[in-house]
């Protein structure tokens, strides 16, 4: 059975995504659960990058992981009921050794120079999609304004 390297890579990324989503279910600490959730979403975005769909990769990583994921991690860290360390500090030693070996091997190897990046988003930027993005941004601002108004009304009702 001849399996291409891209299929193997897809299988590996999908496997990591499923394992990290399983870790979300199994871990008891919300902080670690949110970290594993972010890892799952990065893997999902990685599959988009594997199929050369960089604009969606950027959207998922920036909006979902970069904005919502970080807010979720911050909330989980704030409302952490029983702060306990699930990972031993001793794991730092193999991590440092691996990072050193990796850094040194990259330093001594003659890597090819990077070529100019061809940004693929250009062909997607049409007036229709710009209008769509504008409307959706307006929708999110409206949603946030309504939540803000609800909070202000509750404050006024209390005082």
């Amino acid at each position: 059975m001849n399996i291409e390297i891209e299929t193997l890579l897809l299988l590996a990324i999908a496997g990591v995504a499923v394992l990290s989503s399983l870790a979300v279910l199994l871990t008891r600490d919300n902080f670690y659960a949110s970290m594993f959730m972010s890892a799952t979403l990065v893997m999902v975005a990685g599959i988009y990058a594997l199929f050369n769909l960089q604009p969606v990769f950027v959207l998922i990583v920036f909006i979902f992981v970069g904005a919502l994921g970080i807010v979720t991690i911050a909330l989980a860290a704030t409302y952490r009921f029983a702060p306990e360390r699930q990972i031993s500090v001793l794991w730092a030693l193999p991590v440092i050794i691996t990072a050193f070996i990796l850094g040194y091997s990259v330093h001594i190897s003659n890597l090819a120079s990077l070529e100019k990046i061809q940004f693929a988003l250009q062909k997607f930027i049409t007036p229709e999609y710009l209008l769509l993005i504008l409307f959706l941004t307006a929708l999110i601002i409206l949603l946030m304004l309504s939540v803000l108004k609800m909070g202000i009304e509750k404050e006024e009702g209390r005082s």
């Binding site: 399996i3 891209e6 299929t7 897809l10 299988l11 999908a14 995504a17 499923v18 989503s21 399983l22 979300v24 279910l25 919300n30 659960a33 949110s34 959730m37 799952t40 979403l41 999902v44 599959i47 988009y48 199929f51 769909l53 604009p55 969606v56 959207l59 998922i60 909006i63 979902f64 904005a67 919502l68 994921g69 807010v71 979720t72 909330l75 989980a76 409302y79 997607f124 229709e128 999609y129 769509l132 993005i133 959706l136 941004t137 929708l139 999110i140 949603l143 946030m144 939540v147 609800m150 909070g151 509750k154």
Partner: protein
């Protein structure tokens, strides 16, 4: 896109959705529920990938709409969690007493 790649994507998407569902039904606080919902949205994003091989431009539009609307929903849930904490002084799902039907 080959058949094996298509099956890997759909199986992974279903598995992540299932994990998100199990996390949601076993959640005891609203943060866990938020994490479960984000996980389920991740599975939905993944199931969109095969659409790009057939109608790429429309699929990109659908992806943008899905990402923005799900982000809006989750932002409202985050605001609701903070509001509930200010009102009830806790974020347990058991303290949510209104909403839904009794059979």
């Amino acid at each position: 896109m080959q058949g094996i790649e298509l099956s890997i994507i759909y199986v992974t998407s279903f598995a992540i959705l299932l994990m998100g569902y199990f996390t949601a039904i076993s959640s005891k606080d609203l943060i866990r529920l938020l994490i479960a919902l984000e996980l389920m949205f991740g599975a939905v994003f993944m199931s969109l990938i095969p659409l790009f091989s057939a109608i790429s431009n429309a699929a990109f539009g659908i992806a943008i709409i899905t990402i923005f609307t799900s982000s809006g929903e989750l932002l409202v849930l985050i605001a609701a969690i903070v509001t509930m904490d200010r009102e009830r002084k806790n974020i347990y799902t058991s303290s949510v007493t209104i909403g839904g039907d009794k059979l």
